[in-house]
Amino acid sequence: MSQKAAITLNINGRGYPIEVEPRRTLADAIREDCGQTGTHIGCEHGICGACTVIVNGDPVRSCLMFAIQADGKKIRTVEGLAQGDKLHPMQQAFMDHHGLQCGFCTPGFLMLAVGVLEREPDISDKNLIDVLSSNLCRCTGYQNIIKAVRAAAKEMQKG
C-alpha cells in the first residue's frame, strides 16, 4: 500500500514507537503493533463499541480512528485500569454485579463507563442508559451492566 509513517502511541503511560500505514486503524495498532489485546474488535464499523478506548479523556471507537491520528495522544485501555492487583472500582463492580458473561464486550463497556463518569460523575440515570446504549452486549441483557456502572459511580465519587 502506501509508505509507513513513524508514530508513537502513548498507551497507559508507556510510549510505543511504531511504524504504520496511514490506513491502519488505531484498534489494530493497539492490538497488533503494541500487543495490548485487551481492546477487542467487534464490528470495525463504529457500532458495537467493543473497541472503545479513552483518547485524551474521551471514550473513542478505536476502529474508527486511524493510528496516525492518535500519534502523541494519551490513550487508555483496559489494561491500564487496575492498580497492580487492585481492580478499578468499575472492574470490581462488574464482578460484584455479574456484569459480564463471555467478557468480549467488557473492555469496551469498562472504558466507555469510566470515560463518561470521569467527565460527568453525577450523570442522571436516563443519560447513563443513553450512554451505555451506545455499546452492544449479547450475553447479559444489560441489566447487570447498568447496576454495576451505577455502583461504580458511587464508589468513584468516594474517590
Binding site: H45, T77, L87, Q101, G103, F104, P107, R138, T140, I146
Partner: protein, 755 residues
C-alpha cells in the same frame, strides 16, 4: 434440597478477573511467529454456475503467497453432520470452497493467503470470479426448485405422530387454523469467528486454536476429513466471545486453515469480519407453520395437525435436521395433545445456510403453539389463562411421554408442576390487576396490553460426560472435562460442584475445558447440557476422589476411614480435635498425586419449564413497542449458582426480544442480503431491555441426576416471541393480529393502518 456450602450459592465467578483486566485470550489474540493470514473470497451472487476464477492480479500483489480454489482441496470431503444427520440430507452438504455452483451470497469461493491481513483483504478484492447467474429460490414455502441435476430443494420431510389425528378432527366441535411465520435471525455473538491452525512438524501434530463449543467432535471430524489419526489433531479452546448455537460448529473456514497449515507448513490465521459473520455464519429460525387444532366445546385440545416449512438456506450444515426436528417434537409444550401430527418440509433456499440458535426449534414452535392457544381462547370466548389451565399436563401424569423422539432420545418429561408455576407467576404479576389497569388506560386512549406464554424446555442431552479430577503432588486441583466454555460460567459452576462434594474451597479449583489433549473424549457445550451432564460427572468424580483421599489418609493416620472427614481442604477427625492433614499434604505423599475419574451416562433429556408475562405500550407514531414490565418464572430443578441462572435468563430474554421485535436477515428479490452490518441488523441495546423480574423455582428437581439439575440456558428466550405477540394483540384488542415475527415498527404501523 438445602443450600450447600457452594452449590446453591451466588458466589463470584472464577472467570471474571482475566476478562476484566484485558488478559482474555480470544481467537484474535492468538498469534504465532511467521503466520500467514487467510482472507476468504465470497460469492457476490446468490445462485449461479461458477465458470472461472482468475487470481493472477491477486497473486501479483507483494506479500500474497497463494490463492486456493476448490481444485486445491478437491480431495477433502464436504463437512458432515453432528446431529440429526438423515442419510437423504447428505447430498446437500457444503464443501469448504464452492465447486460448480454458488448458492448464496457469502459462499466461500476462493481463499487468499498473505503475510498481512490488510494485504490479504486487498488481494481478495482482486480475485475475479465469473459466475453465470441462475434463478433464485427465496421462499421455502413456495414450490421447490433444482439444487443440482439430481436433487431438488425439498431435502426431506420429517414427521412426528401420536394418537389418531383423523379421529380427533372428526370429533372436533371446533377447528382453529393459523398460518404463522418466524423471521430469519441468529445468535450473533460479539466475537466473530476465528481459527488459527498450526502444524507442529516435529511431533506431526496439527493444532487448531480458537475452537469452541464442540472441540472433540470437530477434532475427530477434521482428522477424518484430512486423513490424519485423531491423536495427530488437537483443538484448543481459548476464551470464547459468546456461543448461542452459532459459534464453534465446524465451518468451511476451519477446514481451510487446517488444510493450509498442513500444506504450507505455516501457521494460518483467519479472523472473520462482521460483514462476513452476518452473511456466512449460521442463520436460524426461519419457518412458516400452517397449524390446525381440533377442540371440544370447552376448549380442550383433541388434536393438533401442523404442516411447516423450514428454510435452511443454501446447504445442510452440521446440525442437519436438528432445528426442524426439535420444532416438530417440542411443539406440544406443557399441554395434553391426545392426537398430534407434525410434518416438516426441510427446504433449501439461496440464503445463508442455517444451524441452531439458543432454544432451537422451541422459540419457533412456542410462538406457534401459544398463538394457537390464544386463538382457541378467542374462538371459544373462554379466557386464555383458563384455556391453558384446562389443557395443562397435570403433575400427577409425570413422567409424561409424548410418544416420539428427538436428538436420539424419547421425549419423556421427567418432572414438572406446570399449573403451580403458572399460578405463582400470575400472582407475582397481579395478572387480574394488571389487566384491569391496562383496560382503564386503553379506555383513556393508550395502546397498552399484556401477554402471557408458557413453555417446556429441554436440556441435559447425553449420551455421556466424563470428568477427571487431579490433585497434584503440589496440591493444585484440576477438574478436567470435555465440555466447553462459551461465556456461561462453566468454570465456576463445575468448581462449585466439585468443592461441595470434595470438601475444598471452590476458588482453588482449576476447571479445564475445551482441550482435546487433556481428556480423550467430550461432548462439548450445547443443548443446555453442561450443568446437567458434566455437573453430575463432576460430582461423581469428586465423590470418588474424596473416598480415595480418606482411605489413603486413614492408612497414614492409622485410623479408620469412617472416623475421618474432609472439610475446607483438610482431612480431620469427625466430631472433634485430633491429628489432621491437608489434602495437599496427602497428595504430596504420592508421586502421581490423587486422581479420580467418572463418566455420567444418560439416555434421556431433562425438561425445565416456565412462563413469561409482559406488559407493553405501542407508540402509534413510530410503531415502536416499549416494554413496561417483564416477568419470568422458570423451574430448573436445582440452581448451582442463582446469580448465573438469573444472568442466563435475562441475557436470553434480551436476545428473545431482538428476535421478536428487531432482528431480521432480509434479502432483495435477487437474493442479496440486506442485513450486513450492525446498522442493518438491529440488536437490542441497554435502552430496549427493561428491568426483568425473575422467579426461579426448584419445585421439580429432575429424577435423572443426583442434584436434580435441569439446564438454565434457554428458558429466558424460548417464549419471548409468543409473549410479545400476545401482548401486541391485547394492545390492539385484535386477537390473532400478530402472525409474523419480528414485529418490527413498520409491521406495527401496518397493523395500525389496517384498523
Amino acid at each position: 434440597m438445602a443450600k450447600g456450602k457452594f452449590v446453591g450459592r451466588s458466589v463470584p465467578r472464577l472467570e471474571d478477573r482475566p476478562l476484566l483486566t484485558g488478559q482474555g485470550r480470544f481467537a484474535g489474540d492468538i498469534s504465532f511467529p511467521g503466520q500467514w493470514h487467510m482472507r476468504v473470497v465470497r460469492s457476490p451472487v446468490a445462485h449461479g454456475l461458477l465458470k472461472t476464477i482468475d487470481a493472477k492480479a491477486a497473486l501479483a500483489l507483494p506479500g500474497v503467497h497463494a490463492v486456493w480454489t476448490h481444485a486445491d482441496i478437491a480431495d477433502i470431503p464436504p463437512i458432515g453432520f453432528r446431529l440429526t444427520g438423515l442419510v437423504e440430507l447428505e447430498a446437500y452438504r457444503q464443501t469448504a470452497l464452492a465447486q460448480r455452483y454458488v448458492r448464496y451470497v457469502g459462499e466461500p469461493v476462493a481463499a487468499v493467503f498473505a503475510a498481512d491481513p490488510y494485504v490479504a483483504e486487498d488481494a481478495a478484492d482482486l480475485v475475479e470470479i465469473n459466475i453465470e447467474p441462475l434463478p433464485v429460490i427465496l421462499d421455502a414455502a413456495g414450490p421447490p426448485g433444482p439444487f443440482d441435476e439430481h436433487h431438488d430443494t425439498e431435502t426431506s420431510v420429517i414427521e412426528k405422530k401420536s394418537g389418531d389425528i383423523d379421529a380427533a378432527f372428526r370429533a372436533a366441535k371446533m377447528v382453529v387454523a393459523l398460518d404463522l411465520e418466524i423471521g430469519r435471525h441468529s445468535g450473533v455473538p460479539m466475537e466473530t469467528r476465528g481459527a488459527i491452525a498450526r502444524y507442529d512438524e516435529a511431533n506431526d501434530v496439527l493444532e487448531m486454536h480458537g475452537a469452541a463449543k464442540v472441540p472433540h467432535w470437530n477434532r475427530d471430524r477434521l482428522a477424518l476429513m484430512l486423513g490424519r489419526h485423531p491423536d495427530k489433531v488437537q483443538l484448543y479452546e481459548g476464551h470464547v466471545g459468546g456461543g448461542f448455537g452459532i459459534r464453534g460448529e465446524m465451518y468451511p473456514e476451519d477446514v481451510l486453515v487446517c488444510a493450509a497449515a498442513l500444506k504450507f507448513k505455516r501457521p494460518i490465521k483467519w479472523i472473520e469480519d462482521r460483514r462476513e459473520h452476518l452473511i456466512a455464519a449460521n442463520h436460524s429460525r426461519q419457518q412458516r407453520h400452517k397449524i390446525m387444532a381440533a377442540i371440544d366445546k370447552d376448549g380442550r385440545i383433541l388434536g393438533i395437525d401442523n404442516e411447516f416449512f423450514h428454510d435452511n438456506g443454501a446447504y445442510m450444515r452440521t446440525h442437519a435436521a436438528t432445528v426442524p426436528d426439535l420444532a416438530a417434537a417440542m411443539l406440544p409444550g406443557p399441554y395434553r395433545v391426545p392426537a398430534y401430527r407434525a410434518r416438516g418440509h426441510i427446504r433449501l433456499t439461496n440464503k445463508t445456510p442455517c444451524g441452531t440458535y439458543r432454544a432451537p426449534g422451541r422459540y419457533e414452535s412456542t410462538f406457534v403453539r401459544e398463538r394457537l392457544i390464544d386463538a382457541i381462547a378467542a374462538k371459544t370466548g373462554i379466557d386464555a389463562i383458563e384455556i391453558r389451565r384446562r389443557n395443562l399436563i397435570d403433575q400427577s401424569a409425570m413422567p409424561y411421554s409424548l410418544g416420539f423422539s428427538t436428538l436420539g432420545t424419547d421425549i419423556v418429561y421427567d418432572s414438572g408442576d406446570y399449573a403451580k408455576l403458572m399460578d405463582r407467576l400470575l400472582e407475582a404479576a397481579d395478572w387480574q390487576g394488571m389487566r384491569q389497569a391496562l383496560a382503564h388506560r386503553r379506555a383513556a386512549g393508550e395502546r397498552v396490553g399484556a401477554g402471557f406464554a408458557m413453555f417446556v424446555e429441554k436440556s441435559g442431552l447425553g449420551p455421556f460426560d466424563k470428568v477427571r479430577i487431579e490433585v497434584s503432588s503440589r496440591g493444585t486441583i484440576e477438574v478436567i472435562t470435555g465440555v466447553a466454555s462459551i461465556g456461561q460460567g462453566v468454570e465456576t459452576a463445575m468448581a462449585q460442584i466439585c468443592a461441595e462434594t470434595l470438601g475444598v474451597d471452590y476458588t482453588g479449583i482449576n476447571v479445564v475445558h475445551g482441550q482435546t489433549d487433556r481428556i480423550d473424549k467430550g461432548m462439548g457445550a450445547f443443548a443446555s447440557r453442561v450443568t446437567v451432564m458434566c455437573g453430575e460427572a463432576t460430582r461423581m468424580a469428586a465423590a470418588k476422589l474424596r473416598d480415595a483421599a480418606l482411605t489413603a489418609a486413614a492408612e497414614l493416620m492409622q485410623t479408620s476411614v469412617e472416623l475421618l472427614d474432609l472439610i475446607d481442604g483438610e482431612i480431620v477427625r469427625k466430631g472433634g480435635p485430633g491429628p489432621s492433614m491437608r489434602l495437599a499434604e496427602l497428595a504430596a505423599t504420592k508421586a502421581e498425586g490423587l486422581t479420580a475419574e467418572a463418566e455420567f451416562k444418560s439416555s434421556h433429556m431433562v425438561y425445565p419449564y416456565g412462563a413469561h408475562v409482559v406488559q407493553i405500550k405501542l407508540d402509534t407514531e413510530t410503531g415502536a413497542v416499549a416494554i413496561e414490565r417483564y416477568l419470568v418464572a422458570f423451574d430448573i430443578g436445582k440452581a448451582v449458582n442463582p446469580m448465573l441462572v438469573e444472568g442466563q435468563i435475562v441475557g436470553g430474554l434480551a436476545q428473545g426480544l431482538g428476535g421478536a421485535l428487531f432482528e431480521e436477515f432480509t434479502y432483495t428479490d435477487s437474493g442479496d442480503p440486506l442485513a450486513v452490518t450492525f446498522a442493518d441488523y438491529l440488536m437490542p441495546t441497554a435502552r430496549e431491555i427493561p428491568a426483568i423480574e425473575t422467579f426461579v423455582s426448584e419445585d421439580a428437581p429432575s429424577p435423572l441426576n443426583t442434584y436434580g439439575f435441569k439446564g438454565a440456558g434457554e428458558g429466558g428466550i424460548t417464549p419471548v416471541g409468543a409473549a410479545i405477540a400476545s401482548a401486541i394483540d391485547d394492545a390492539l384488542q385484535r386477537p390473532g393480529a400478530v402472525t409474523q415475527l419480528p414485529v418490527t415498527p413498520w409491521r406495527i404501523k401496518a397493523m395500525l393502518r389496517a384498523e
